[in-house]
Amino acid sequence: MTQETLILVKEFRPTPVSWRPYVTPVDLDRATPEQLEAMKVTPSNRKVSYYTLTLAHDPEILTVRSPLFNDIMYHRGGLSRANRELAATQTSVVNGCFYCASVHAARYIQLSKAPDDIEILFARANDQQTDVQKKAITAVAQQLSRATPTLHKQDVEALAAQNLSAEEIVDLIFSTALFGWANRLMHSLGQAVEN
């Protein structure tokens, strides 16, 4: 890795940021066949992020994690793409992951055209959310993301009362839990930096 001057990002914002690892990422030219396979590197696709190169130190779980991440966030049906991003952003705020919060807030805004929702999340002012369905979604994402995660039958009933289907509720649990995973990797193995 070449020496570069890093300007740290220490705030939640919906604009692009980069990420740099604390550990030395895998050197693509020295990667094992298992690592290359886990990173999905092919002769025509050798553009790999710092994050993936870092996680390639453990190719066994990376092989499982990447497709699972995509399936949870992008599978068809169930919770809308925007609401999955909303849950991901809320979870990232709870876990203090500036990088994940930035990426997923931007995706939420792109999908929903509702930047105010992100301002509310970043200000930790969820009481100001007037859309009751969004309020219920972020409340559940918050609860399930805390150090001691909780979710009760009445919380599920509260989501159903806001017209969320069973499929949507199950997807909300998946996407929130997923960011309990992603945030812990991103926020402990490296840090958000200016582009």
Partner: protein, 165 residues
């Protein structure tokens, strides 16, 4: 046995419909989640973190998060469930650090506890402490994956348990 049937067992209580149907329709996500358990609890290349040590750390994480009832997967896929010797201190979340342990293990406990309970406070110093005590970058990533993946699994089960009949 299908992943849905395994999850039904891990959740430990009957699910209400239509939630049960909605969850079991996501068989592929459940299957991949079970593979993730195995990849972090009993990997082929465990590095510094033996299967026994991973199991003990798994129980530590479940205890710290007050989620032992949601730790069915840790019980099912862990290499061991009863610990003896120094592994007892690792599995016992009330032991923050212990004097007989090698420095790298106490650094690993600090990393595990912080990432589990105070994720937002994680900083470079946690990784540097591991490196200073001889933990390779590869093993730092393996430890991060263990803690992070089990945090996902616990939240999944806590969430699914709320879909009870």
């Amino acid at each position: 046995m299908s992943a849905s049937a395994v999850f039904e067992d891990l959740i430990g209580q009957p699910l209400a419909n239509p939630y049960k149907e909605a969850l079991f329709a996501r068989e592929s996500l459940l299957e991949q989640s079970l593979s993730a358990y195995q990849a972090v609890l009993t990997p082929n290349a465990p590095g510094l973190w033996s299967h026994d040590l991973r199991a003990a750390l798994g129980f530590r994480i479940a205890t710290l998060t007050n989620s032992l009832a949601a730790a069915g997967g840790i019980r099912k896929y862990a290499a061991r469930r009863v610990f003896d010797g120094w592994l007892q201190n690792v599995a016992n979340a009330t032991v923050i650090a212990y004097s007989d342990a090698p420095a790298w293990l106490n650094a690993a406990l600090d990393y595990t506890d912080t990432l589990t309970l105070r994720t937002h406070t994680a900083s470079q110093s946690l990784i540097e402490a591991l490196r200073q005590h001889g933990v390779s970058d590869e093993d730092c990533v393996k430890l991060a994956e263990l803690v992070a993946t089990l945090s996902y699994q616990i939240r999944l089960i806590v969430g699914f348990q709320a879909l009870q009949a």
